[in-house]
Point group: C2
Chain length 346, copies 2
DNA sequence: CTGAAAGCGCTTACAG
DNA sequence: CTGAAAGCGCTTACAG
């Protein structure tokens, strides 16, 4: 039915092995023969059967993408789609297919991953999250299955190729930026320190404060379960913050809402900066200053290094740092005199 | 290296054909033999080689997901990830793999799709968008490749299995809802009528107004390129709208910003309702009343009917309507007396 | 530079 | 109910 290597061989008057070598552009075949065979391939719209290729050469040309447990909340974070878009871009360039793996529990995820590797469905995996004691990662490691992590791996760090931002530096940079705007009391809100990415950003934040001789007080750090009451206490401190760093653009909107309910408006009463530079950052009012972490490139590079590893298992383990940059918008501004006055009074 | 059917056959003392029949749970094999073979499969952690199966039975157990042209803006709309999540759920249940197909241009997309089908990489496709004169859809149709559309197909409608909401009814319902809250002048903002989904919603909006004897004036409809100036004119009409319908949650935030800059705050000065019920709807201040179109189910059902079609080509063409429901939140409220007064004055 | 043949790991008529 | 054999469409030593 479909066009096969035999049809081409017959029409080009060569053996199937020759056609196969032309497919692979083997240097052993003369240019004249190649041209003749290619003409026939084009004429018939031939495309090598994928399953047959995989079976014969034991490569699937396919990578698995492991999503975190499918909690709707996390899933709707555009981070994942954007990183998949980056992966997709590279995969398409290299003619690889992607298989997305999701599951409700760790056990289910592990089962699916085992099935896929044993059935030879994929050559390797990209893990879109990072957590400690992950049975899936243990499995990859023990079975020597190629995998790449987006973010900082919690296990086998030095043996694992991963793509990440310098989150420590990003936290430091954005804090520095606020300090240069004249802010002295800067709070960090929405710090989910159980996740490495946030732990690192907070570490950078602390260091920037210390470098500038400012005091890094734990009461200025609220974790991601912060409530309006927490914010209220924060803003009733003798030295209330005049700038806030929030861990993720997705938290900026609810945060802004709480602030406005407490009577603080952006950016006059308080500057706000965030991370990730999702599209929502531009849509907020005022538009949100945010650290662009180039999610697309995180995905692209993760796919690139995974595929390199698949094609050449001797490829070195790599740690790739994707640069970030602060995108300045109206939610942050120089500390105003008014703030000083208020502080003076309180 | 990996466990094959031969290993199992040898250990269970049967022919490989018998093992194959056990894999398929063929009724021809005695339960005793099945049990013996299965024990060995479990003991060795056997999983049938996927490429070999595909090659032998010409099924890939894999579906392609076609994304619209990868404009970042569209891509970051959580709609796509959420529908992929629905597809993923069903695919995993049925042990199918998904391959996401993206491209920058229609030609590139068509090339990739052709490659994938000729190479037998997938059994069928889900198209996540719908537009007129789509070469990709033409190709599927002409080559008789199974495909399913999320949304309303623009071509071959009656021959195409698709999964959609009743967008006409949704538009009508939400308008009706506002009418019941006492609103008489209701505008529709962000109507991208080049897309069927929005055309239908606007049609429902018009009909609801007419059914209630209210006037459906075109000046109350702004397309998706609306500016603050357009809104300004709208609100300076003799009978200014007291309620707004916006085409997509993603537009609600910029819309709200413009409104507040014009001096109108939600929901006192104006009620606002929207479509899709993305997570952002809850995060807005005030939280946004939105029509939940159950995106997850759109994806799930699209995958379900595609796979049914793949497994049994005689399966009928189906049009599946996923129910919607209005999720009421604080952005909409009964028209206040104040509005009436204002109208009286102007 | 090219071809004949074996093999990848399954499935499926066919025979018994 | 089970097995021996051919075949799916490729790749790759081996031989020339």
């Amino acid at each position: 039915m479909a066009v096969t290597i035999k049809d081409i061989a017959k029409r080009a008057n060569v053996a199937t092995s020759t056609v196969s070598r032309v497919i692979q552009d083997s240097p052993k075949i003369s240019e004249a023969t190649k041209a003749r065979v290619r003409k026939e391939m084009k004429a018939l719209g031939y495309e090598p059967n994928f399953s047959a290729q995989s079976l014969a050469n034991k490569k699937t040309q396919s990578i698995g993408i492991i999503m975190p447990d499918a909690e709707v909340a996390i899933f709707q974070n555009p981070f994942f789609l954007e990183s998949i878009r980056g992966i997709s871009e590279l995969a398409n360039e290299k003619n690889f297919t992607m298989a997305i793996v999701t599951a409700r529990t760790d056990e289910e995820l592990l089962d699916r991953v085992k099935m896929m590797t044993r059935a030879n469905r994929v050559d390797g995996f990209i893990v879109l999250y990072s957590k400690s004691e992950d049975p899936v990662v243990d499995y990859f490691h023990n079975e020597k299955i190629p995998y790449t992590v987006i973010g900082k791996p919690q296990q086998y760090v030095n043996e694992t190729t991963h793509v990440d931002n310098d989150n420590f530096q990003a936290g430091k940079d954005v804090t520095q930026y606020l300090i240069e705007l004249g802010h002295e009391y800067i709070a960090y809100v929405g710090a989910d320190v159980s996740r490495t990415v946030h732990k690192e950003r907070v570490r950078g934040y602390r260091e920037a404060l210390q470098d500038s001789g400012l005091f890094a007080d734990e009461t200025y750090i609220l974790d991601s379960s912060f409530t309006k009451a927490d914010l209220d206490s924060l803003f009733k401190l003798p030295n209330r913050p005049t700038a806030l760093i929030v861990g993720d653009d997705m938290h900026a909107l609810p945060l802004q809402t709480m602030l406005s309910q407490l009577g603080f408006s952006l950016p006059e009463a308080c500057s706000l900066v965030s991370f990730n530079n999702l599209r929502i950052a531009e849509m907020l009012n005022p538009p949100l200053t945010s650290v662009d972490i180039d999610i697309f490139t995180l995905g692209y590079q993760a796919a690139k290094s995974l595929i390199e590893k698949i094609l050449d298992p001797k490829e070195m383990t790599k740690h790739i740092i994707v640069p970030h940059r602060i995108v300045e918008r109206a939610s942050s501004q120089r500390r105003t005199m008014e703030d000083t006055t208020v502080e003076g009074i309180s």
